[in-house]
Amino acid sequence: MTTTEVFTIPLAKMSAKPCPGRVDSKGIVSAIFLALAMIGLLQFGERLDTLLFGGLFPVSGRIISMTMIGLGTMLYGLVPGIIVADINPLIATATGTSPLAPFWLITNASQAFSAWLVGRYFRNIISWPYVITYSITAALLLVVLYIPLHIFYFKMPWQKMLSMYAFQTAVCIPVPAIFLRGLLKVIRNAGFVEE
């Protein structure tokens, strides 16, 4: 017999919840809608990413995805965070907007994993130490995951790409951290969080 579990959400006192997180209707649907918001916001950085070698070294996409995936994971847990992360690649593939989309299933999920993993070590995630630690972890993990993509898919000489990786990482640490902390504070003040 299915029982209904009532959650008080989003996360009380803004602490990270253990896996799997909030997986009732509200958690899942909220994750989907955060993913859709992410898709909408991604369009604002398309030109920058196109200029950066056709999307091989995305900066704006990474900023938006790190922010929104981190937000989803922090609000609802790991599984909803993975939903936020992986809806975009599926939709992008279904609507034909990017050939790299299937790889984002893994690279985006790694950002949710980073947010969840780092969150286990912080009591309060609406804090600079948490968002910066998350940004650093996610950015570095993304570089590590993109290297096999560049090597096996595109046969790129990854050693020669180090400067681009460094530029990408340098931009994608502070900006998502600032956005994420700002968003979390606004969401808390808007009453979506129980203290």
Partner: protein, 280 residues
């Protein structure tokens, strides 16, 4: 035996010191239509349908019994076959890509066999006037069509009670007419209806009784004529235009006839009044 029974229903939202619903009690008979006005209407609707206490956090006291089943103890899926709710914005109630998929969605969740789903789909689409549109994309429907689709999706689960929370708020006048036409047909078929609606001209002819909530308590529960006569001095209540006119004239001219709530009744009573005065 009433089909819906509310006993001393009290509800506090989390960290709220005052109750949003305070000691609400009333019964609803099969086939009756109850219109709800005042404050905490949506909270009452959520309590009737079982969302409180299963989904909405807070403290609930008292009892809501639907067809002999308490909403506290029954599962939401079981309650969905007895009482269904249509939300304000139909956009939030159509989750699938096509109309047919939306109508069958609830049935699928309840494990209804496929053949029966097909039969019910045809029936409810005919009932709401959307026959032949099953293959249409949900987002291509007009506002009125979407709200009727939303009603169809709930009716497909065969609830005996239908709750509508401001179903025409997002609709234009044509859409509003379509929805109320549907509700009149449903009522004629014996469906029990609870409706929250701010358009008095539409809801007054439909309702058998009207409930006014003030500060979470039942202030007035009466048939429409009596209701409007009782709340005549309440500035927050909107009256049907013909009722408003009649009540204004009633005070000035000392009229004693029944309060009209439809245009036809108004024409009859005010027409008689005009003829009476015209002779003098």
């Amino acid at each position: 035996m009433p089909i819906l029974s509310v006993r001393d229903l009290t509800f506090h939202y989390p960290s709220a010191s005052k109750p949003t619903l305070d000691g609400i009690s009333f019964d609803l008979d099969r086939g009756e239509c109850l219109a709800v006005f005042g404050s905490a209407k949506s909270t009452l609707c959520l309590s009737l349908v079982g969302a409180i206490p299963h989904l909405v956090p807070g403290r609930m006291q008292g009892e809501v019994v639907v067809e002999g089943v308490s909403t506290r103890s029954a599962r939401l899926a079981e309650l969905a076959t007895k009482i269904g709710m249509v939300l304000q914005d139909p956009e939030n109630a159509l989750f699938n890509l096509t109309l047919a998929a939306d109508v069958v969605f609830g049935m699928e969740n309840l494990g209804v066999p496929r053949e029966e789903m097909a039969a019910r789909l045809e029936t409810v689409l005919g009932l709401v006037g959307l026959q032949g549109l099953g293959g249409r994309m949900s987002q291509e429907l007009s506002g009125g069509q979407k709200q009727r689709a939303s009603v169809a999706a709930v009716l497909a689960m065969q609830p005996t009670i239908l709750i509508l929370d401001e179903p025409t708020r997002e609709l234009d006048p044509l859409g509003t007419e379509e929805v109320f036409g549907l509700l009149a047909r449903l009522k004629a078929r014996g469906t029990t209806i609870v409706i929250v609606e701010n358009d008095p001209d539409q809801v007054a002819p439909l309702a058998d009784r009207m409930l006014l909530l003030r500060e979470g308590k039942v202030a007035v529960l009466a048939p429409p004529r009596e209701f409007y006569a009782t709340v005549r001095d309440d500035p927050k209540i909107r009256f049907p235009q013909v009722t408003d006119l009649y009540l204004a004239l009633q005070q000035r001219l000392g009229l004693t006839g029944p309060v009209p709530i439809t245009l036809e009744e108004g024409i009859q009573s005010l027409g008689a009044l005009y003829r009476q005065h015209a002779r003098h």
